[in-house]
Structures are given as structure tokens and as C-alpha cells.
């Protein structure tokens, strides 16, 4: 792992703010887990607890008008881009106040007004979409970049390769950020991939620079993203970043993840992204109480979000027939 030191780039207050965002995500995911177990979240969830540093670190390096595309494991990306825990949890709980009016669910959290252009549940599908948003930015000369976050498993699907190829050939301002959590659903990525770094090792075939980074260190992620953004905005094209990280929960729903060796779990739990950020805060001389206060604020935000989402009304059944077409309706025939 080629961890990149860029601690100098980040000030104490900025890091504390990133820490607080990660704490909010962690608690939102825990709440989602508990609400699922309580039967208040139906269908499925794919929790990103453990992945917080990837979303928060990358977002810190983006402009507000940049575009982000995520997967079904995307709660952290929605929140990192400005979605509130309340609108996310309300969505999971099938409430009218949900971020997608309860039409999307856990797998499709989207905050288009903040450039978070969706969470996609077909593995790999959004990599070409991100390349398309980057192409659009290039055509409009807007200086925006697009980021696709995806799992290690997505590196074996065709859309990944088509997207990397065309992004390189057209020199598009796009970042491909792989959240390599070592597993697809239940199968280790290493058992189905001929190279050790599933995203980064493929990038050279498309003449795209790549780096493998510590995805649990928010400062490292922010620095690597900033470098890639700099390349993209200056017309040097795409970058692949492979951020190594680990899920704290199972793949989805109530998966106990017993397929993961205990020592491996232990090792990664000791590298919790929140702990790493706290250690960095200490190094920067931030008093412990400041981090504790950030934790308390995060806990309160999420507690209030849960209460508000619980109290929110169910959607109007008539809403099943809105939003198919741009005219707001669903009429397909006369």
C-alpha cells in the first residue's frame, strides 16, 4: 500500500469537520441497521460503516458543482455530499419525506441539487454515466469533474472496462474511485481476479495513472483525490484510485459475514477510520474533548433524524403515478 502523506495540507479545524461528518455517517448506518432489525426498514440495506473515510475524504477535495455517482452502498456518499441523515433514513423507512419520495429506497439515495447524481444498483452501470457527466463538463467547458465510486467486484464487469477506455481516449475529467473492501457479496475479490489490486492493476491497460491508497485514512483519501482532481481539471484526463477499506457490517440486510476470517476482521476493526482520524487530530494538537463534542453532536443529529423519520407520514399512494415523465406524470397512451 503506497499511503501518501499529505497531513500538512489539512488544518485541525478542517480535519475536525471531516471527523464529524464521518461520525454522522457512522451513526446513521448504525441507526439504519437497528431500524432494519426492528422491521422499520423494508427490502434491503448495504451499509457503509467502515467506508466513511472514502466518501468524506473524496468529497473534501471536490467543488460543490462536481458530480458524484455511487453504488447501492451509497449512504455515505449521499451524506458526504450534503444529504441529511433525516431525509436518508426517511427514504429507508418508506416515508413521504424521503430523499427520493420513498420511490428509490436505500439503494438509490440521490441528492441531485448537490451534484450527487445517484446510487446505482446494477454493478458497474454508473461508471459510463460518470464518464458521460465528465464529457458533458468538457463539452461545456465548466471545469467540473465527475467521480464514480464503485466496489472491487465492479472491476470485473464490462462497463468498468468500457468506461476506463473511453475516458482515457477522450481524456475526460473523471475519477474512478474503487472502494476495495476485499469482498464482493460473500466471495473474496482475490479469488476471482488475476491481479492483486483489481482496479489499479487494470488501469495501465488504459494508460490511466492509478494509485492504491489507505481508504481508511480520510487525509490520505482527500490528498489522493485532490491530486486526481488537479489532473482532471487541467485536462490530463482520468485517474484510478483504489482505496482499501473494510465493511463493519455484512454485505446487506442481516448478513453476519461469517465468511470473513476472524483475524482479518480484527485487524481491520483496529484500523477503524474514525480512530485513525482521532489519532490524527491528537497529533495536530486538537483536545480530546473537541472530538468528543463532535461525536455528541453527530449522535444528536442522528437521534433527531430517527425521531423525525419515524414521525413522518407515509407517501400518498397517488405518488406511484408521478415522476415517470418530465411532465410529472405517467401517461403512456391516449
Amino acid at each position: 500500500m503506497t499511503a501518501v502523506a499529505a497531513t500538512d495540507d489539512i488544518g485541525a479545524s478542517e480535519l475536525l469537520a471531516l471527523y464529524e461528518q464521518m461520525a454522522v455517517i457512522r451513526r446513521t448506518e448504525k441507526a439504519a441497521h437497528d431500524l432494519f432489525l426492528a422491521g422499520l426498514v423494508k427490502g434491503t440495506t448495504h451499509l457503509a460503516a467502515g467506508h466513511e473515510a472514502v466518501a468524506v475524504g473524496a468529497s473534501a477535495a471536490l467543488r460543490p458543482d462536481d458530480y458524484v455517482f455511487a453504488t447501492y452502498r451509497g449512504h455515505h456518499h449521499a451524506i458526504a455530499r450534503g444529504a441529511t441523515p433525516e431525509e436518508c433514513l426517511a427514504e429507508l423507512m418508506s416515508k413521504a419525506t424521503g430523499i427520493c419520495k420513498a420511490k428509490g429506497g436505500s439503494m438509490h439515495l440521490t441528492k441531485a441539487s448537490a451534484g450527487m447524481l445517484g446510487s446505482y444498483a446494477i454493478v458497474g452501470a454508473h461508471l459510463p454515466l460518470a464518464a458521460g457527466a465528465a464529457w458533458s463538463a468538457k463539452l461545456r467547458g465548466s471545469g467540473q469533474v465527475a467521480v464514480a465510486f464503485f466496489g472491487d467486484g465492479a472491476t470485473n464487469i464490462g462497463a468498468f472496462h468500457e468506461a476506463l477506455n473511453i475516458a482515457a481516449v477522450w481524456s475526460l475529467p473523471v475519477l474512478f474511485i474503487c472502494e476495495n473492501n476485499l469482498y464482493m457479496e460473500y466471495t473474496p475479490i482475490g479469488s476471482v481476479t488475476p491481479v492483486p489490486n483489481p482496479a489499479a492493476d487494470r488501469a495501465p491497460a488504459y494508460a490511466i495513472p492509478a494509485e492504491v491508497i489507505d481508504g481508511n485514512d480520510v487525509v490520505v483519501v482527500a490528498a489522493a483525490t485532490a491530486r486526481a482532481v488537479q489532473r482532471a481539471r487541467s485536462g490530463q484526463g482520468p485517474t484510478v484510485i483504489e482505496a482499501r477499506t473494510y465493511r463493519h457490517f455484512g454485505h446487506s440486510r442481516t448478513d453476519p459475514a461469517t465468511y470473513r476470517p476472524a483475524e482479518e476482521v480484527q485487524e481491520w476493526m483496529e484500523r477503524d477510520p474514525l480512530d485513525i482520524a482521532r489519532a490524527r487530530l491528537a497529533t495536530l494538537g486538537v483536545p480530546v474533548e473537541d472530538a468528543v463534542r463532535a461525536d455528541d453532536r453527530a449522535a444528536q443529529v442522528v437521534a433527531e433524524a430517527v425521531a423525525a423519520a419515524r414521525a413522518a407520514p407515509a407517501p400518498d399512494p397517488a405518488d406511484a403515478f408521478t415522476d415517470v415523465w418530465a411532465d410529472g406524470g405517467s401517461q403512456w397512451r391516449t
Binding site: G132, V324, W325, R333
Partner: protein, 332 residues
Amino acid sequence: MADISALGQTVTYREAVAEGIARELRRDPAVVCLGEDIGKAGGVFKTTQGLFEEFGPGRIWDTPISEQAILGLAMGAAMTGMRPIAEIMFSDFFAVCWDYLANEMPKIRYMTGGQITVPVVVRTANGGGLGFGAQHSQAVENWTLAIPGLKIVAPSNPADVVGLMASAVRSEDPVVFFEHKGLFASKGPAAPADHVVPLGQAAIARAGTDLTIVALAVTVPMALAAADRLAADGVSAEVIDLRCLVPLDMATVLESVGRTSRLLIVEENPYQGGWGGTVASIVADEGFELLDAPVRRIAADCVPLPFADALEQQVIPTVEKVAAAIRRLMAY
């Protein structure tokens, strides 16, 4: 590009495709084209001839053979302020980028509660009759009809190509635009300037009183030829050119059947799962009392499309099959 909009001029369907795209490219700088061989080469069917020369590489983008990237990039660009026109060379290739047509373009607006708009046009060469075999001849408009959230256009003549292209490009919703391979060389009056045909409005291609024939794309001229043949026998057939499958203009169909009391549907896609089944079921449901005879469908037979003309003609609709069906229906 040559100006082919002069009144009274006759143009080919193929030229109309390029003209329709060119008019939108001239009108709106957000319009941009991408696809395989569409630039300098002018398209494998020459339907984008002249565009690269007029608009240059900043508007007309040659892509790698990456159908998922073509549709994915088009969608991502459409979500972020552009109005892309993507070409999939043969509609058979929809199968390799089906995710974008089935799961992404038609669903993103709905599943985000209306947050995202996808003003994209997916153009493709559709249909058989040219001996291209089972993987380059299919009429797949019924594949797209199976997906709520897509608008579906399939013009039958050059003027409609231009007018419907204008509406498709200006649509805020994703539109699949089927260009029929068997019609590319066919000719018709050029579209007048600023010609716009709204989506979802069928045309009465031939007025008649004895039976209604509902047709689309290549089956329109087929139905017209059969109707002309039967006119000699005193049969007055009305031919409706649906022009779009979504929005589907059933009001025009039901109104016509109300006058003629007989309905024949001529579709090129296979009988199994063909669009005529949807039209027939709506007429059975909402127009049962209007009918004096069973609804008949002429569609492709349910086999992969064979290569040899003698075999292909067995399988796809022909003027002879339509004429025979009219006779049977009138004798009922």
C-alpha cells in the same frame, strides 16, 4: 450539409435522418452526437453523412465499439445539461447495452423522485428484409415497449423522420428512435422548414371506411400497397401510421375502428410479445362493441430470422400476407 428543405423536393429517408439531426444541431448547441463510425465515415448506413463536415469533432464524436459506454456516456451527459443523440449501429446490439435502456434511462427520474432528467435520443437501424441474418435484421421495437419510461418513435417516411427527430431531441424524456433499414433508400417529400411532429400522434396515412390497418415504420408502405391492391376489389382500407409506440395514440385507433368495425395490425417484430398484442388488448378491452370481426395480427413468425430471401420472406410480413389478411377479414 446540402439544404434539402426546399419545398417540393423529394429526398430519401436516409438523407432525412442526417437532415433531422443537422437541424437540431444547428438550433441547439447542447445537442451532440456519438456513435461508432458516425463521424468522418458518415455512418455505416450513411445516415450521418455530412454532419462531421458541418459540425466538426466537437459535436460529432466517433466512439470505440463500446455500446455500454455509448449509452452510458449519453445518459450521463444528458443528466448534466447536454442533449446527446447516441447511435447504436444495429438495434440487435441493444442486447449488449440493454442495462441502459431497461434499467438506467427509463428509471432514474422515477426512482429519484423526479430529481434527474434524461433528455437523450438513442437512434438505431432496425428491421429486416435485407438478408443480414438473425443478428442484424431484427425488429426489436417490442423489446423497448416492455419498459415503462421510454418513449418510442419509428417513422415511416422522410418528412416524419425530420419532424419526429425534432420532437425526440427536444423531449425531456429518453427517446428510442428506430430508423428502418428497409426504408433508407425510400423517397418522399422533404420536410418543410421548422417541421415538428409531436410525439404520440398517429397519422392517417390513407383514409378508408371498411377496415382499419394499424402499421408502423416499414409496415406502413406495406399496408398502403396492400390497400391499393384491394381497392381494385372495392375494399376501402384505412391505414394508420402509429409513428410512436409510446406515447401510443390509441384514441386515433379506436376512433378509426369505430368507423370501420374491423382491425388488422401489421407489425414486423415477432408475434410473440409483439406490440400488436398491446394494441389488440386495448381494443378488446375498450373497443369490443365497435368490432364486427376478430382482431387480426400479421407479425413476424416466431423463429430467429433466416438469411436467404426465400426463407426471410416466409417469416416477415409482406404485401401479399397483408393483402391476404385483408381479404379474410373482409370475408368474415
